[in-house]
């Protein structure tokens, strides 16, 4: 294979990082204050919460399903955990237990979704749509405004900074992405997980417990949504009932930009990280350019569209390149033989 083709294929397979680099360079040139250390750290910090949802949604897409309820889980998990810790129980819970409780509630919500979908056979769209509404409604009922202030330990992950003024949220998020990337690529569990999304029946016949894989997918996503909730609560030092509203659609955009597909079996966690960073970078640069909040939202919407179109173009281009290479090889063969 000629070098040029190899490079082109490599770039196509890692399109998200190419886009990210292009967008970065463009902004470094035209947007004032963009390429400063402070702003870059800021982008990472602001992407952290969204990136957890993108990863959760992305992993569910890989397993061949979708989850709309993630944005409600994001607020439900810390909300209920805080209420339990401070009001409902006769004794106060210590903050570490509250954190564990938060994550456990997220995972439990996921477990509920997963069991309904994998065992009862409920349609995932309808299941998670209803849960999205139920959980948001419950939070609006239980938390009329917001719960604050929160314990320092509880807000540590979302608020604290370490050397170089880097928020601890950033390394936490990176470690989580690397962890899942590793799991998906190098463990049998990960490959079974991806296989289930790629072709559920084939996987089932191969002896993979596909139902269980789907449940795991939802549990992991619920857990990640709870992590996002923990970070969000930490950042604003409160649990407010509107946290996460409208984020799930952007999570789809990020995951699809990062290489996931609605058909399942496609995409890697690192690609999804790229997708989340691109989302963060775009809203950051629009802010710096002084574009209004509502227009930022519209732009992000347009981005979902662009993501889908780009993905199609990418696949077409890839097939075209491979076909051309085959033809070229044949011609050489004919000349040679």
């Amino acid at each position: 294979m000629p070098r040029k083709l190899q490079i082109e294929l490599f770039l196509l397979d890692n399109l998200i990082w190419v886009l990210l680099a292009c967008f970065f360079l463009l902004n470094a040139l035209i947007t004032p204050m963009f390429a400063t250390y402070g702003n870059l750290v800021n982008i990472l910090y602001h992407s952290a919460i969204m990136s957890m949802l993108v990863l959760g949604q992305g992993l569910i897409l890989v397993s061949g399903h979708l989850d709309l309820s993630l944005e409600s889980t994001l607020v439900f998990a810390p909300g209920v955990a805080m209420l339990l810790a401070t009001r409902w129980l006769p004794f106060q819970l210590d903050p570490v237990t509250t954190i564990i409780l938060t994550l456990a509630i997220g995972a439990l919500v996921g477990l509920f979704n997963g069991v309904c979908i994998a065992k009862i056979g409920v349609n995932p769209f309808l299941q998670t749509l209803s849960l999205m509404i139920i959980l948001r409604g419950l939070v609006l009922f239980l938390v009329p405004l917001s719960i604050f202030p929160l314990d320092k330990v509880y807000t540590f992950a979302g608020q604290a900074r370490m050397i170089g003024n880097i928020p601890v949220a950033v390394p936490i998020v990176f470690i989580i992405f690397l962890f899942f990337h590793f799991i998906m690529q190098y463990t049998a569990f990960g490959r079974h997980f991806v296989a289930t999304g790629g072709n559920a029946r084939a996987s089932y016949i191969s002896g993979i417990n596909t139902g269980r894989m789907v449940i795991y997918a939802f549990v992991i996503a619920g857990f990640l949504a709870a992590v996002a909730g923990l970070l969000a609560a930490g950042r604003q030092d409160s649990v407010s009932n509107t946290m996460g509203e409208g984020m799930v659609m952007l999570a789809f955009a990020g995951a699809i930009l990062g290489g996931a597909s609605l058909e399942g079996g496609k995409g890697t966690p690192l690609g999804m990280l790229g997708g989340a960073l691109l989302l963060g970078m775009i809203s950051n640069s629009l802010n710096l350019l002084g574009v209004g909040v509502t227009l930022v939202y519209a732009t992000q919407g347009a981005l979902i569209f662009v993501a889908i179109v780009l993905d199609r173009i990418r696949i077409k281009r890839r097939n075209y390149l491979l076909h051309r290479e085959q033809v070229r090889r044949l011609l050489i063969q004919e000349q040679g033989g």
């Binding site: 049998a188 079974h192 991806v194 296989a195 072709n199 016949i205 417990n209």
Partner: protein, 526 residues
């Protein structure tokens, strides 16, 4: 029902039995797929399961493999009885299956597809290098030439099927191997590989359950066969005492008429004008310089091994994969289609080889699928005329003998062969002027095959020209007016009806013609 009137010797030694089914029934809503089936499979034998489409063969083996749960009955494996098995239980009992519809994860590599359930590991990590090495060993052992690092989706249909056979036979190290119509989509060359693998595994002490619709193959491969008819197990016979005719009678259940009612050997004289002319069609690396003409009323066969470019030429004509060069004339006008829909607009219908993915909309009903291309014919103004539609559907179902509980049944609940009949019925309903039929008889039982061929020969071609391919040359010889031989993407010969010997055709298809006069179109027309 279910008595064994074969001469299976009375069980002298119970250890001899690998698998025993007792009174297995399976009831689907609206269908009794299996009714109190009894089967006894001996250790180390190749046991054939035969029967018409919808007889319940696939359902039976899926129950054994733990994919479907039986409604009643007991399964005995190595002496232990079970009411039902899960797939994971069945794997633990060392039962492997190659299901009727190939099941692969198309985005995974060949190697990964082979080892999907048992990765080579270091602790809980996957050893990718070891995975590739082991996959290469297995592929080499089977004498197959495929790169284990390519995507499974990039393999040909035949190679995909063999891959699944390899997985069942060598990777899973099973004692009982089930092959459900594994040979239906194999290229001739690969068939030999399959038979070798089966012999080798049998030598290694495995028990094999083999489902097929091809009589010669069954007689060649199997030790015993069990006949299923309408969900009942009729009998088990020793293959040594059977021949083709006896086998056919067993399957169909009555004296079976093996001849197509056509004017055998006569050339049709009253062919109409040319409806389709293809000139110099080329898609690099796939087919080259394909030229032929098709007249109205003519049946033109494309004979060639799998992979010789038959499917690809069809796909080129209807605009799924564009040819690099060449022109297509329809009714004398130059055409270049961008999609099958455009081709359909000119009255060209294409029956795809891959019925699951390209031929059917599986969650629609039989009625909706049948009428999909033909809605124009039952339209009244903007609305559909439902009673006319129902009548047309009922006619098609009867004509093709499709086994359905009702026309409203979902297509994905039908048996494999009945799905194929729906595909044929669907395109026949449209009443087009050119048919491109890619293996319309694949996977259908002998009586339905005769039915489909009869329809092609006696009614479809009255108003249209037909290009057809088939897995067996015999079918082509029976119905075609003219046969073109394809070898490695080129037309290497032409045979006219009434003027051909099967052996000539056979050697031409295998590439014989090309060796004699390379580069030239050999002509067998006298």
């Amino acid at each position: 029902m279910g008595h064994q009137d074969g001469d299976a010797p009375p069980e002298a030694n119970p250890d001899d039995t690998a698998l025993k089914l007792q009174g297995i029934s399976k009831i689907y809503p609206g269908t009794v797929a299996l009714h109190k089936v009894n089967i006894n499979v001996k250790k180390g034998e190749v046991h054939g399961i035969i029967g018409k489409n919808g007889a319940g063969k696939s359902t039976l083996v899926e129950i054994i493999a733990g994919i479907t749960t039986p409604t009643a009955g007991k399964i005995f494996i190595g002496g232990e009885g079970y009411d039902s098995l899960s797939r994971i239980d069945a794997r633990r009992k060392k039962i492997a299956i190659v299901p009727q519809e190939p099941q692969l994860i198309l985005d995974f590599t060949v190697a990964e597809n082979l080892f999907i359930s048992d990765y080579t590991r270091w602790g809980w990590l996957i050893n990718w290098q070891g995975l590739y090495t082991r996959a290469e060993e297995i592929v080499k052992k089977a004498n197959l030439h495929i790169n284990v690092r390519v995507r499974a989706g990039d393999l040909s249909v035949s190679e995909q099927q063999l891959l699944l056979v390899l997985k069942a036979c060598y990777v899973e190290q099973s004692d009982i191997i089930i092959l459900d119509e594994a040979s239906a989509s194999l290229a001739q060359r690969d068939e030999e590989l399959l038979y070798r693998i089966i012999r080798e595994r049998k030598g290694g002490g495995c028990t094999i359950l083999f489902i097929s619709h091809r009589a010669e193959e069954l007689l060649k491969v199997c030790d015993r066969v069990t006949v299923l008819r309408d969900g009942h197990s009729i009998s088990t016979k020793n293959c040594r005492e059977l021949d083709r005719d006896k086998l056919s009678d067993l399957i169909v259940g009555e004296k079976f008429c093996r001849h197509i009612k056509v004017d055998q050997g006569q050339l049709k004289k009253d062919l109409g004008e040319t409806v389709l002319a293809v000139e110099n069609l080329t898609r690099l690396g796939v087919y080259q310089e394909i030229s032929f003409q098709l007249k109205k009323g003519e049946i033109l066969g494309l004979a060639g091994l799998r992979g010789s470019g038959r499917t690809e030429i069809f796909r080129g004509i209807v605009g799924i994969d564009h040819p690099d060069e060449g022109t297509i004339f329809v009714n004398g006008q130059r055409r270049c289609y961008r999609s099958p829909a455009a081709a359909l607009g000119d009255g060209i219908v294409y029956l795809p080889e891959d019925r699951e993915r390209e031929g059917l909309i599986s969650n629609l009903s039989v009625r909706e699928n049948l009428m999909l291309n033909a809605l124009d014919t039952v339209k009244r103004g903007l609305l559909l005329n439902r009673s006319k539609e129902s009548r047309a559907v009922a006619d098609l179902i009867k004509e093709l003998d499709i086994k359905v509980a009702s026309p409203e049944q979902e297509v994905n609940q039908l048996s494999g062969g009945n799905k194929q009949k729906v595909v044929v019925g669907k395109i026949a309903a449209a009443g087009p002027q050119i048919f491109l039929l890619d293996e319309p008889t694949r996977g259908v039982d002998i009586s339905a095959k005769q039915g489909i061929l009869n329809i092609v020969r006696n009614s479809l071609c009255r108003e249209a020209g037909i290009v057809i391919t088939s897995p067996g040359l015999e079918d082509l010889i029976n119905i075609c007016d003219r046969i073109l031989v394809l070898h490695r993407g080129r037309i290497t010969g032409e045979f006219l009806r009434g003027n051909l010997r099967e052996s000539d055709l056979f050697s031409a298809v295998q590439g014989g013609a090309q060796e004699k006069c390379p580069g030239l179109v050999a002509s067998y027309v006298s």
